[in-house]
Amino acid sequence: MINLDSKVPEGNLSEKWMNHKFNMKLVNPANKRKFDVIVVGTGLAGAGAAATLGELGYKVKAFTYHDSSRRAHSIAAQGGINAAKDYQNDGDSIYRLFYDTIKGGDFRSREANTYRLAEVSNNIIDQCVAQGVPFAREYGGTLANRSFGGAQVSRTFYARGETGQQLLLGAYSSLNRQIKLGNVEMHHRREMLDVVVVDGKAKGITVRNLLTGEIESHSAQAVVLATGGYSNVFFLSTSAMMSNATAAWRAHKKGAAFANPCYTQIHPTCLPQHGEGQSKLVLMSESLRNDGRIWVPNIVGEKRVVSDIPENDRDYYLERRYPSFGNLAPRDISSRSAKYACDEGKGVNGGRSVYLDFADAIKRIGEPAVREKYGNLFEMYENITGENPYKVPMQIYPAPHYTMGGLWVDYNLQSSIPGLFVAGEANFSDHGANRLGASALMQGLADGYFVVPYSIGNYFGSEKPEKVDVKGAEFKAAEESVKENTNKMLSINGKQTVDDIHRKLGNLLIDKVGMSRDEAGLKGVIKDIADLREEFWNDVKVVGKADEINQNIERAGRVADFLELGELMAVDALDRDESCGAHFREEHQTDEGEAVRNDADYAYVSAWEYKKAGEWELNKEDLTFESVELATRSYK
């Protein structure tokens, strides 16, 4: 059994974080330099944490597998970042952002964590502006906002359709300053392949130098994983090509519980698949749903070109079914609705896409105003599809995008391995069963700038972890096991490539563990994935050598881990015999097709403990709600 003490502080919801900060142990400034921290990943959470820990005076070693710390996939986030500033005077507040987030997550997140997220959201905006992030402005010079799915207030700050890029470059700039000052030692092109645990505490990592193939050990008194999500388990997703679960998964195999793996978000507004050779799916910011109207032809087998389909032969299904939120219904609802429309044969040309139409917006505010708001997204669309969205409606379809599940963490963002902290998308913490738009950037930066730097201080102050040497037995053992794994993959010399098997895994998952799931499908797919894993270890072909630049080896290791994680996603989805947020079980829906939660039996976090490949033990953290009433989500 894993100890799942959430360590949520006492007191009123709004006072918990303040009290906790007061009660946490401090490390005096002169002693901070005696403590070292490893940060893996340099996205918003990782770069934010590494920079802030450096500013505080800790000795930081940061790692990324990229050639530069500016390339993490946070950079691709388009639409914006939420904060409870209430600059628009439309009734927003910390409590409302908290409530929207916990409701959007279908009441499957930890109340105190979600509240803290909303609470520090305002500091994030201040921080980013001070860094010189050029957010959109009004003519008077104040910050502009827009609205996003799942909210009825305008609280989203943005920089055209490149908000993630600008926020990441902000964090990158702070990180660069600390590198220059000598507080952060930056290690590029290193992929973490194991976490090293000494006497029950995380004390270091094993990495592969991607240029030489050398296996290296690095030690520190605490380790922060900020290694992102696992959407690439689906093969086709909006994640970057290299995004993977390996760091988190290897930590899981060393004793860190993995929470809610079945909560995976399928984003409603992505470009449809063009063919078999497709390598990834491209997201179009859902901010487009502010002005674009989503519809499908009313008639199955509609053959007319879009301009010939009259108004009354169009089904604006979101506006019809959810009149108050309309096209801004939350992501899970929008995605599932698109899937159903296409399942019925009403997709564009009978295929798997729906229209996202700007004709009315162009009529209402004019093409220049639409261009001003969405210009670069329209350009991107035209670049990829060869069609001009000012003239013909966009075609979109949902795609795997974000994973709410991740390593289990307590209120301090510490995993079930003491000294191992997990930040950003890599943890399961704040979004419950579904994440609202513009909340991922918020969480990454909240964890990185404002939570981990405090809670690590508390860990150092209270636990006083010793330094260890990388020559120790645990480090040697980890190095050996990593090398053995690599050599094993190289020696199989089978017939299928890594991508062949990854693609098969993706097809299994999107079909049975995607937008809707059912018992029979899940039971079947658990076996299919286990078989596919066998296939991998008997029939994969990995070429080249271990001691050189070898991108084939890199991908092979990641897919090997996805083959285990994919099974756990299905196991978790089978256990969770209810519908909630992005997890939709066909067995649990109303006559109108809305998700039906089961709070009596399933208001818990599923924290899975690794036993061996294909075998896990379920630990449950009960979710208690002191401040909110568990309502049925309604966006009607």
Partner: protein, 253 residues
């Protein structure tokens, strides 16, 4: 829209390491016009792996033109012949049936080849570390609306800040200068009130780091602007030059 496959001959640069002699490897291929160039590479590599041969080493990540990881010289032009397009956004519909395409790594003294199409661009990070930031610590920021910033200034700053750090400007420049890259960051901060305190030290430090990292001088040929996937304007270089000139006066000891 063309639906049928197009036949292409790809001549792709292969090079074992920085010092090895490189050569063009030839591949005949039939591809969907909707596929991206990098998806064609994925398929080539998948076939090479099946045959037990070493796949072509190239870098890419987001495949949305924003992370700056990818970069190839395609028919002599960094990121190919489409304007404001990164390599990963280049689609096969822009090529003609029967065409031969030459693909090489970014070439510059400051970007040594690591293998095949993969180069080392760490000089770009060194420049950013020299001054591409506003010096303040987490937690010390005033309210975000405390300093009004005009829509125009914010917009111009963002035009500059959109640089993805791919290095195409360097590969395009006959002098291998990274001045478009440096000026984009210098301009972003020079245009904003947050950047004023360190404005002149910043431009000095970044220009010095640029020169020390092996990049060449700018002679205003504008090749960088023409190839920049984000369309960063050379007017940023003019702004930087002005600041650099002023900084020489101001910082004179």
């Amino acid at each position: 829209m063309k639906e049928h496959n197009i036949n292409l001959t790809l001549k792709i640069w292969r090079q074992e390491n920085a010092t090895a002699k490189g050569y063009f490897d030839e591949f005949k291929t039939s591809v969907s016009p909707h596929a991206s160039l990098l998806e064609v590479f994925d398929e080539l590599n998948n076939n090479l792996e099946k045959e037990g041969k070493d796949p072509i080493v190239f870098e890419s990540d987001c495949r949305e033109g924003i992370c700056g990881t990818c970069g190839m010289v395609i028919n002599g032009r960094p990121h190919g012949n489409q304007t404001k397009t990164a390599t990963c956004q280049l689609h096969m519909r822009t090529f003609k049936d029967g065409e031969t395409i030459y693909i090489e790594p970014f070439k510059a003294k400051a970007f040594p080849v690591l293998k095949d199409l993969m180069v080392d661009r760490k000089g770009l990070d060194v420049i950013q570390q020299a001054g591409g930031y506003v010096s303040f610590n987490t937690g010390s920021a005033p309210d975000a609306n405390a300093i009004p910033i005009s829509k125009t200034a914010a917009s111009l700053a963002l035009d500059a800040a959109e640089c993805i750090g791919c290095g195409a400007c360097v590969a395009a420049c006959k002098n291998s200068s990274a001045m478009l890259f440096v000026s984009a960051k210098v301009s972003q901060f020079a245009l904003l009130p947050q950047g004023q305190a360190e404005r002149y030290e910043r431009v000095q430090n970044m220009v010095i780091a640029h020169d020390e990292s092996g990049f060449g001088s700018c002679t205003n040929t504008y090749a960088c602007e023409a190839e920049c996937p984000k369309g960063i304007s050379v007017s940023n270089i003019a702004r930087m030059n002005r600041d650099y000139f002023v900084s020489n006066m101001k910082l004179q000891k």
